[in-house]
Amino acid sequence: MSDLVVKGLAKSFGDVRALREISFTLGRGEFLTLLGPSGCGKTTTLRLIAGFERPDAGEITLDGRSIVNDPPEDRQLGFVFQTYALFPHMNVAKNIAYGARLNRSISTKRRVGELLDLVDLKGFERRKPAELSSGQRQRIALARALAPQPRLLLLDEPLSALDAKLRESLRAQIRHIQQELALSTLYVTHDQEEALSLADRIAVMRSGKIEQIATPQQVYEHPQTEFVASFVGRANRFSGTVTATKDGLISVKVGEFLFSLIREEGLSDDLRASQLTPGDHVSLFVKEERLQLTEMRENAISAQVALVEYRGETSIVYLKTQIGSLRARVSTKQTTTLSTGSEVKVSFSPSAGLLFLAP
């Protein structure tokens, strides 16, 4: 529906620099997630776009027109709050109708019916927000935001107050509705699983900046910065030194072990462009599910099992090695013979390692 372009957004609250420089575009019908730890500026970005706060610098355009000076009521954006912010003195129908009523072109009554249908809450018209469960409140908040046919939907951690099961089913419902309406959507969350499963693209944020913006798969498998590598997924981290680079392979010495990595897989775009030379200090990341307990020729270390944690189909195995503690996620079938104190070999494929220059 709409094209959002955000350029050079900056915002400080007193001495705190909430946003340093935020730029991205959101294509028509696209679902973009802002992912990051608390305090990274993701909510501030959303609030600036909604018009609740004024940026110190930067530009926000929607459909080619700047909206940065418009008050929130003129922006025609739907906003779903973390706390839902349903009007406690109005019933469900009035809450949903509130925005539609202000937009004269919409037939309010029909719209309320349509939206209650959309969020599966027909028959709840007369209930007050206090009489709804938190999952129902969340859906009404979504319906209310959609009622005036917004040009853009903004969601601020909409599922964070719900329990895990409910979160998962509402997540699917939000995605379904968004695709059905082909609505451009910006979604703020600190939950990586939510971001990975929902978004067309993810912007990973840290300290008021975007670290990487890419598809979920790229963010997960090819993180471009050390922060993204450690924030998305669960990885084991080692400090080492580059000893050789040749034939598309890189050798890294960690403690007394020598690991080899495939250059094409293991380096970020920036690092591949520059020259990695022997003697460089690096951080090596290996995702927990890429560690294997079957012995391979390359990259093998002997380890002692410290603890096996049953997680259903997979299990987490905590290992003690000469280069520190490791965490491996393996198929539970493989752990039947293991017990605390067992001696095992742990290894990873040369394509599983990710390298970043140590700062």
């Binding site: 009521e73 009007f87 003195h89 509130y98």
Partner: protein
Amino acid sequence: MKKGGFLVFIGLLAFLGLVFYQPLFSVLRRGLTEGGRWSLSPLATILTDSYFVHIIVFSLKQAAFSTLLSLGIGLPGAYLLTRYSFPGKSAIRSLTVVPFVLPAVVVALGFILFFGESGWLNQWLMSVFHLPSPPLHILYSLTGIVLAHAFYNAPIVMRLVNASWEGIDPEIDEAAASLGAGGLRRFVGITIPLLTPALLSSAALVFIFSFLSFPIVLALGGARYATIEVGIYTLIRTLLDYKLGSALILVETALSLSLTYVYLKAEGGFATLTQGSRRVATYPLFSRKASMCKMVIAAYIIIAAVFFLGPISSVLVDSLLVRGQWSVESYRQIFSLGYNPFLGVSPLRTVLNSLFIGGISTAISLPVGILIAMFAVRSHLPGRRLLEAILMAPLAVSSVAIGFAVLYGLGGAPLHLSGTLIAIALAHAILTYPFVVRVIRPVLEGLDQSLVEAARSLGASPTRAFFEVILPLIGPGILVAAVFGFALSIGEMSATIMLMRPGLGTMPIAVYSLLSARQFGAASAMGMILVVVAGIAFVVIDRLGKRGVGCRTLW
């Protein structure tokens, strides 16, 4: 803060400067000048003259005794409310607000009728024990003053301590028990330290209220038992000595400001209390099993019931009893347009005056209080806390002093408010707006800021969002504040008496004049009207108060 809001706020400060700060400062300055020059001699007179030293010491002494007695009566009540369940418990908890809206002069009247030499209690004791003369001599003594102050303040102690006690997470006590601490050890080592902020702040509050109390001391103390408040009143209204009166106000204000500082310090301790998910377990008070403990509790309840209900019932009975016969004659007198020699005006006139003053003062205190509450909640200005404390200053200045400040600062040119009902209404507005702030502020704090943002993202302008979202949500709070402010104004006597002129009498002044003239029937009938106003205020505060307007916030 937005520009428009800032301008409104500057306007508010200018208004308060004109009607409160400037007049108060000119009074304080008057207490520091002699023959038009700065001088410490008025202050020196106050601090060396044996009469003034006596009343200062007496003020502090009676306040200390009042505080002790209020704690003595209030703490067992707080314990009962916290640890026992019984029918009417929530009603009793609600009723603890009543003394706060009950005019002091009516309480004084009730005490005279109930505890007086020929009061109901003495008559009853004489007839039961066949005594030749009244056994109790309570009135016109320190005891009478202290008892009346306890009547007022014990419920406050009960309420504050009970609220704090119920706020203690029972798991803390259970944790101590699981670690091996016995009942007494837990009470001394866990409960009492956790209750200390509530104990200190309620004690400080009672001390301040008793220290600044005026109508009770005036009516029950007699000539010998004057406090600073009565001293100021006598100096200014009887002796017309503005200089020494102002100097005495200076001393009193210095003392009350220090006491308020102590109170605010103690009140700050509340914030650290943990609110548990579970409530303290309660035991049914009325069960078959009798015990020594139950006997003590029963005795407490009977004494408390007599102490609190006796004076108020006496006012009701006396208003309906004329020369030993049931009659509404006293009420007919009150609603007559005829001139009453004791009042210097018709009784109905005083009722109308009170309503007019109450209306005007509420019309001023409500917007002022709302604006200050909004400032306190929204502003991020540096020095906001200090400014907030300054804005709440009328809480720490005595009513008599505020009455005189309005008289002295605004009575003459250019406003010439002297001898007008407006002057009285203005003084009431100054006295009551801090209470409006205390009611409105938590309401605003409880308002989710994202509701306004939600309305605006849905297309509502700021004005629309205010009328459609904010106002319906804070409406009940505003109504409570208005009713509360109105009730306080209707019952106010201290500032009023400083600004009184013939023809300007209000209902509390009429009660005082009638009881001074020993016209107890008419005084009681007039007193009952005040009781009814207080009762209506109580019902409104209690009903609407359930929706987020905590009575805890009233003081």
